[in-house]
């Protein structure tokens, strides 16, 4: 049974609420779990560019609303990140067990760089080096550690909601 876009909204909204209300409180050496990013990247790898972009846009928009950032900031960042992650779906390295964690590290740092660029352009004063070293890199490493779990969880959803013409 294919998954409809409107059915995604409650899932992404739940993740956004948990992300903005719960996960930001838990810091592990500067690292914070970015569940929405891992979800969008996983879904992009599983379902390709179009669905990844939609999830990235909707998830980002919800985060914007809930986190207090200027609307569109996370939406833009996650949409672009989802597109980049979806390119990994086409590589021959995808079957390598290290592929998903390594991609998570790269995408996470890239996501934070885009976000910081947008924030800098909109007038936020950011200490780039500190933010990269103390937050972005630890967050990327934490994301890489947890990415296989998120990916596996979404794989179950993916196989249960495959479009009929893609069914195996």
């Amino acid at each position: 049974m294919p998954i409809k876009t409107y059915a995604v909204v409650p899932l992404l909204l739940s993740i956004a609420v948990v992300q903005s209300s719960v996960l930001f409180r838990f810091s592990f050496g500067g690292a914070r779990l970015h569940l929405m990013l891992l979800t969008v990247v996983s879904w992009s790898l599983l379902r390709g560019t179009r669905e990844g972009i939609v999830w990235g846009f909707l998830g980002g928009l919800m985060l914007d609303v809930l986190s207090g950032l200027p609307l569109g900031t996370c939406a833009f960042t996650l949409t672009f990140t989802a597109y980049l992650a979806s390119l990994g779906q086409l590589t021959i390295y995808r079957t390598n067990p290290l592929f998903v964690p390594v991609l998570a590290v790269a995408i996470s740092i890239f996501h934070d760089c885009i976000l910081m660029t947008i924030l800098s352009l909109t007038g936020y004063a950011l200490a780039w080096a500190d933010l990269l070293l103390r937050i972005a890199v630890p967050t990327a490493i934490l994301g890489a550690l947890l990415m296989p779990l998120v990916y596996r969880g979404l794989s179950l959803l993916h196989y249960r909601t495959l479009p009929e013409d893609m069914g195996l």
Partner: protein
């Protein structure tokens, strides 16, 4: 075909990116405020509930995180408390000693003819069967056998043995002790003896003496073992029988023998031994 599909994907991406930028611009110009308000109203209760639940969980987690720190801090504080208790005891002891020394000084000033040597009680008869105590002064400090030992309150006893750095003092409450005494009011004399039951008993008081409870008892100086006019105690009860040659009196010692910590040895007093005087040319 693939190129068309890729072009379509890029257009799809650009559409959403443009949408995001447009939302951003609209938001910056405050045109999306009603929508944001609506979204906030919907999500705020959920966020509040989750935040509250997270707070409780965080508090619970913090409890365990801080448990070890609390334990270490508790140990440090316990150590500090122990040190403070020791210091407090030391200061309290110093205060008590200070009070005692002040009293001794006051006594010394009131009796300028006395040469007094302060001594600390370092031992006493543990069985309470014999009335003696050990002081931390001996012959090296000028203590000699027979010297009276007293406090500012009155007579304690006399030195019966003197070592180089410590001495044994026989208390006047010991049954083997006897002190010639004088009743201040009536001027009647007698002998104070230690008593296991009553502490002190004054014996050999002439029947003609008019004595009563409350009279002060002092050393008479007779016999030369003690100087005159040292307070011994106060009469509490008089026993007078017509068939007896003498009357007796129970005397409450002026010194609290149970709480003795510091005493003074009267080093300027030399007891007179009658045998020695008789042998002298």
């Amino acid at each position: 075909m693939a190129r068309m599909q890729r072009g379509g994907t890029v257009l799809f991406l650009l559409f959403f990116l443009s949408l995001a930028v447009m939302i951003f611009i609209l938001d910056e110009t405050n045109r999306l405020q009603p929508i944001k308000d609506l979204a906030t109203q919907v999500t705020t209760p959920l966020q509040t509930a989750l935040t509250s639940a997270t707070d409780r969980f965080t508090d619970f987690r913090q409890f365990f995180v801080h448990l070890e720190a609390c334990r270490a801090e508790n140990e440090e504080l316990q150590l500090l408390v122990d040190q403070l208790i020791i210091e407090n005891v030391r200061l309290r002891e110093a205060e008590i000693e200070n009070v005692t020394l002040r009293e001794q000084l006051s006594f010394k000033q009131a009796n300028p003819s006395f040469e007094l040597l302060s001594a600390q009680v370092i031992g006493r008869d543990p069985s309470n069967l014999a009335g003696y105590l050990i002081i931390d002064r001996g012959t090296e400090q000028g203590v000699a056998v027979g010297m009276p030992v007293l406090t500012h309150r009155g007579l304690v006893g006399r030195v019966t043995e003197a070592g180089p750095h410590s001495s044994k003092v026989l208390l006047i409450t010991d049954p083997s002790s006897s002190v010639n005494a004088l009743i201040q009011e009536s001027r009647g004399t007698g002998v104070i003896q230690g008593s296991v039951r009553h502490g002190l008993m004054m014996k050999y008081i002439q029947q003609t003496e008019d004595i009563k409870a409350g009279d002060l008892v002092l050393t008479s100086g007779l016999g030369g073992n003690f100087p005159t006019r040292l307070i011994i105690g106060q009469i509490t009860e008089v026993t007078k029988r017509d068939v007896e040659l003498f009357q007796e009196a129970e005397v409450r010692p002026s010194v609290n023998f149970g709480g003795l910590e510091m005493v003074m040895v009267l080093t300027s007093f030399e007891p007179i031994t009658l045998e020695a005087d008789q042998q002298a040319p």
